[in-house]
Structure formats: C-alpha cells, structure tokens
C-alpha cells in the first residue's frame, strides 16, 4: 500500500505536466499579451560588424495598439511609430510628416533591425493563429522546456511555422525558430532574463537573428516595464505622432 501511494505521489507531477498544446498556448499568450503596457527599451542592432543602439519609449494597449518614440541616437530622436490595428504610421523628423507605411516597406527591418514592421503588426494570439504538437521535452539553459511545432491555421500570419521551446516553469518561449512556407528558416528569437512582473512572467531580454542575412543580430533589453498602466487616449492617435 505504501509503495502504491509512493508511486501515485511520483506520478502526480507527470500527470500535471501532461498539458494540451492549446492550454500551453493560453499560458504563453497570457505572458505575451497585455491590456496596457509602458516600457523603456534598448535595442542594439549588430550588422556586418557595426553596432547601433536605440533607446525607445513605448506604449501598448492590447494587441491592436502600440506607440513608440525613439529617444536615441541623436539623429533618430523624435522618430515615432504608431500601430493601430492593421495600419502602421511613422513620423520621421527628416521629413516632418506623418506617413502610413504599407506594402513592401512593412517587410523591412524596423530601424534596420532583425525585427520587421510586420513582426510589430502581429495581432492574433498564438492560440488563435496556430495549431501544434509537442514534439519533445528538452533542457534549455538549465530549464525544462517543451519543444512544440506550431503550424499556422491560415496564411495571414508572418510565419507559417514556428518551432518553439516553452519554459515549463514560466510559460515563456525561451527559443523560437521561425520558418517560411517553403520551410526555410527565417529567424531565431530567444528570450531570457525572466522576471515576475505582477501576476505574469516577463522576459527582459530578447535576441532576434535574421538567418537570411548573415552577421545580423538584434538585442532588445527592457530597461523598465509596467503593465496595467493608465494611458492617455491621444497616445494612440496620429496627433501624438506630430506632437
């Protein structure tokens, strides 16, 4: 009887980990999405041996709205971006005009980084956009992870396939491989420096590498982040861009 109880006790954690992919994605989405957010972000772009560092202040409301202002370097100071639903607006100090970005420009790297404007435009949660299967369990940077193969439900997403490594403790995707429809690896995206912010887990550091371009790497470090903050309505308007 004692042996039976011991066996049950050992089996319980395993049973607890037998999670469905949809449940897992719900947890991941909970970490990656928010009602409102204000943050200071340092973005360092390393390309062909040259390094450029940007400091941005950004505001977000849900998955649909995001506003971002560049504070450094000097020449980019005052550059602003505004995402509203599926539209992206930009204010460049050099032309002093608000302009909507569309077409080919959306596929360009944001400020020359490995993140495209399309990456910013992603709105749907992973649970809504992908179906997947757990293909294994591994240890990544000393943390137990699920390796999950996600396939897009339709063609509206930027990456038809994502291979993700989800931390079993925090539900943060510590590593992602992003693939094109052809199967070509486009980018890798890693998250680290996971901290608890309120009731969520948040990765303070991300590294994105464009695998199509060689010698290209973008590091994103959150200097500060706050969730559930009150934000002025004007921040998410084109008036804010021109202010």
């Amino acid at each position: 009887m004692k042996l039976l109880l011991l066996a049950l006790a050992l089996a319980i954690p395993g049973i607890a980990r037998a999670i469905t992919v949809d449940d897992m994605l719900d947890h991941v989405d909970k970490n990656l999405t928010y009602d409102s957010r204000e943050s200071s972000v340092r973005m360092t772009v390393v390309k062909s041996g040259t390094t450029k560092s940007y400091l941005m202040h950004s505001f977000g409301r849900g998955a649909e709205e995001m506003a971002m202002e560049y504070l450094e370097p000097a020449r980019d100071k005052g550059t602003k971006m505004l995402k509203k639903n599926d539209e992206l607006w930009m204010w460049l100090p050099s032309v002093e005009k608000t302009q909507k970005i569309s077409g080919h420009m959306l596929r360009q790297g944001m400020m020359g980084s490995d993140m495209s404007y399309e990456d910013l435009m992603e709105q749907s949660t992973w649970r809504d956009a992908y179906t997947g299967t757990v293909v294994g369990e591994e240890t990544l940077d000393g943390r137990k992870v699920w390796k999950v193969d996600l396939k897009a439900k339709d063609t509206t997403v930027s990456y038809p396939r994502r291979l993700i490594w989800v931390d079993q403790a925090s539900y943060i995707p510590l590593k992602q491989e992003l693939y094109a429809l052809s199967g070509m690896l486009l980018k890798t995206w890693t998250m680290s420096d996971i901290r608890t912010v309120g009731d969520r887990q948040f990765a303070y550091k991300m590294v994105v590498e464009d695998k199509v371009q060689k010698n290209s790497r973008t590091e994103i470090t959150f200097e500060s982040v706050a969730f559930a903050v009150p934000l002025e309505e004007e921040v998410f308007s084109t008036r804010w861009l021109e202010r």
Partner: protein, 425 residues
C-alpha cells in the same frame, strides 16, 4: 585563267532571266541582312553603350558589395573615396572617376502612403549626369538643377534648404509629380534604418526606357546625407577612352596598389551585363546565319540548274583539256559575279530602309517594360546602320553565293567528258 573569267562572264548573259533571279535572291538576302544587323545593333549596341555609361565602364566596389550587388547593400560601402579617386584619376587611360551611391526609395506626394511606389535614387557628381547620362539633354519639363554648394556638413535632422532632384518620367507619373512638386522620399541609411528626405522636383527627364525613367538623381552630398555615408560611396565609376575597351582598363586598374582588396571590373565582366555581349553576338550570328542559309539555297538551286543545262558543254570543255579545278573556278566566279551585283543592290536597298527606320524608330511600347530594370532598352528602337554593317552585308552576300555556288561547281568538276557528251544537253 583569263579565258575562264571571260567564259564565266559570258555565261552570265546566256540565261539572263536566271542570272537576274539569282542576283535578286542575293540582293534580297543582303538587304534583309543589312536591316536585321542594323536592328540588332540598334537594340543591343545602343543598350550596351547606355549600360556602360549608366553603370560605369569600370566599377570599383568592395568585394562584399560585389557579392550582393543586386541588393545594393549600402552597408558594404567604400567609406572614404577621395584618395581612391585621386589614385584612379592618375592612372593611364582614365578620363573620369565619379563616386556614386544608388539606393532604393519609395516616393510619395502629399498624404500618399509610403511603400507603394518605388524608384532608384542616384547620388553622383553633376558631371556624371550631364556628360555621361546626358540628363540635361533629355529634360521633358523643368530645368537642370545646379547641384552642389549647400552646406551639408551642418545639416541636422532635416536640410533647411531645398534639395533638388531630377526625376524620371515614369516615376514622376506614378507619384503624380511634375517640376516644382515636393516629393517625400523614404529610403535607408547604411545601417538599414529608415531615412527620409523631401526633394523638390527641378525637372522631369525622359530617357526613352522604363529602366531609367523609374530613377531619380540628386547631388552626391544629398545621397551621402540620406544614407549616412558622409565621405564615401557605394561604388566608384571609372571611364576611359571608349566603352568597348573597358576590360583592358579594368585589367590595368586591378594592378594599382591603391585598389588592392577592392573589386575592379569592367561592365562587361559583371552580372547582369556579362552575358549581354555574347547574347548580342549570338543574335547577330543567328540572324546572319538564317538569312545566308535561305539565300544560299536559292543560289544553289539556280546554279544547279545551270550546271545541268550545261552538262554536255562542260563535257566538251573537259575533253578539250579543262581541268576539274578550272570548272570549279568557272562556276564559283559566276557565283561571285552574281554576288557582287546582288550584294551591291542589296546594300543599296537595305541601307536606305535601315536609315529610314533609324530615323522613324520602331515603337515596341509596353513590351519593353517587361525587361529587367537593369537593361535600359529604349521603348522606341532605332536601327543603327554603320559601314561595318554594310560591309558585312556585302561579305555575307559573297558567302551566300559561295555556299550556293560551290556544290554545283563541284558537281560540274566531277562530270566525265564521255558521259557528258552522251547526254542530250
């Protein structure tokens, strides 16, 4: 030999209708050949000359730029060009050096969205625009701006003076600009970050082909500011005495110590132009070959008839001591004489037609727009007739007669006198 020549000339008059028909065949062949060669020359050689002016007879870039030059990677620039320009200028055979920056931009007027209408922006010295591209001669409206003189070093976030641009007709139409319109251009800096610049359209140029008409030209300083390459360029374009000897100039420049570690190539040695010369030559050869072959068949036919008609006569002549090779010469000379007359008539007919088409032009319209933007073939193609084409027409006229006349002549030389004299003819 004199006897054979006089016999050959006399034979031409024996069946005047057939001689006239053969000469006419050669004349038509030579005329077609002259027109075809002029056309191919008009399309390709004109495009190649334009390509060499547009892309530089010899181009100096970094090896990494050369590897990805289709993408025009601004990050792979030559950071300082002044010393290199001086070294190249001092080299034998160099007549001009221009630093050049090419950058893909999107253009918008007023509140239009950016990212929909594309153009290729050039920054280079004014002399390149006027002496190599002849932009001032192709102004459709507006004026040639006086590029330069602005204090770009002190420009901060935005130039406070007007930045003038020349704009290709097609790009101007697409964005809805004309002389005096302000166009907002968005491109990239060398680090890939977005860079914007307002330009004032000084003039709209029509260069006759969609590749160049989708382009824009600003001062080198403006392009340097926009791309954040303050003292450099993506490429150095070098010009020598003539565009056809660019490979020799490139070879000599490759030996210059100042250019070691850089990619130095003539326009004809790098893609997408490296195959063009060969392609043009193949087209020439195919056009010439087909016409020569068809015409030679006509000559062959009439000359064979001549041999058959004169079998008995040849037999008698052979019996009287005419050697086999002499009978070959007899018929070949006949063919050559026909080719001389036919060739001359062919050139006299083909040359004016080529000149007329060269003057009028042949409008290929939208079909040319489907060609790659790096190959500037004009919408209106003008055949170009030069003495080489006319001379080639005459030479190939002889080739037609020789090809068509040799086989019958050989056949005549093989006739046995006894058998020939037995024949009815």
């Amino acid at each position: 030999m004199e006897l054979i020549l006089s016999m050959a000339v006399r034979n031409l008059g024996r069946n005047r209708r057939r001689t006239l028909l053969t000469a006419l065949t050669v004349a038509i062949g030579v005329a077609l050949l002259t027109i075809a060669m002029s056309f191919v020359g008009g399309v390709f050689w004109a495009a190649l000359e334009k390509v060499s002016a547009m892309a530089g007879e010899v181009r100096v870039v970094t090896p990494r730029y050369a590897q990805r030059d289709q993408l025009m990677p601004l990050s792979e620039n030559i950071p300082e060009t002044a010393a290199l320009e001086a070294a190249i200028r001092a080299s034998d055979g160099v007549t001009a050096v221009y630093p050049h920056i090419a950058i893909g931009v999107t253009g918008a007027v007023g509140d239009d969205e950016i990212g929909e209408r594309f153009g290729l922006l050039h920054g280079a010295p004014t002399e390149f625009y006027t002496e190599r591209l002849d932009l001032d001669a192709h102004l459709q409206e507006g004026t040639m701006p006086s590029f330069g003189g602005e204090d770009w070093a002190s420009v901060g976030a935005r130039p406070k003076f007007p930045v003038y641009a020349l704009v290709g007709r097609q790009f101007a139409e697409e964005v809805g600009a004309k002389a005096g319109t302000e166009v907002i251009l968005t491109g990239q800096r060398q680090d890939g970050s977005p860079s914007g610049m307002r330009v004032l359209v000084a003039g709209v140029v029509d260069l006759g082909n969609s590749a160049q008409n989708r382009q824009l030209w600003v001062s080198l300083d403006a392009a340097r500011w926009m791309t954040e390459i303050p003292a450099g360029a993506t490429e150095l374009m070098v010009f020598g005495e003539d565009w056809e000897s660019a490979p020799e100039l490139a070879a000599s420049l490759r030996d210059e110590a100042a250019l070691s570690g850089l990619d130095v190539r003539a326009w004809s040695e790098r893609p997408p132009y490296d195959g063009l010369v060969g392609f043009a030559q193949v087209l020439h050869a195919i056009a010439g070959g087909v016409i020569v072959f068809i015409t030679a068949l006509g000559v062959l036919n009439t000359m064979f008839m001549s041999v058959l008609e004169r079998t008995a006569e040849i037999g008698v002549m052979r019996a009287m001591g005419l050697r086999a090779w002499q009978s070959v010469v007899l018929f070949v000379v006949e063919a050559m004489a026909i080719a001389t007359v036919g060739g001359a008539v062919g050139v006299l007919v083909g040359a004016p037609v080529s000149l007329y088409l060269g003057h009028q032009g042949i409008d290929f319209g939208a079909a040319v727009d489907k060609l790659p933007p790096t190959i500037p073939i004009n919408t209106i193609v003008r055949p170009v007739l030069d003495w080489n084409v006319a001379l080639m027409g005459v030479v190939l006229g002889y080739a037609m007669a020789l090809v068509g006349g040799f086989l019958p002549a050989w056949r005549a030389s093989q006739i046995q006198p006894v058998e020939a004299m037995r024949s009815r003819r």
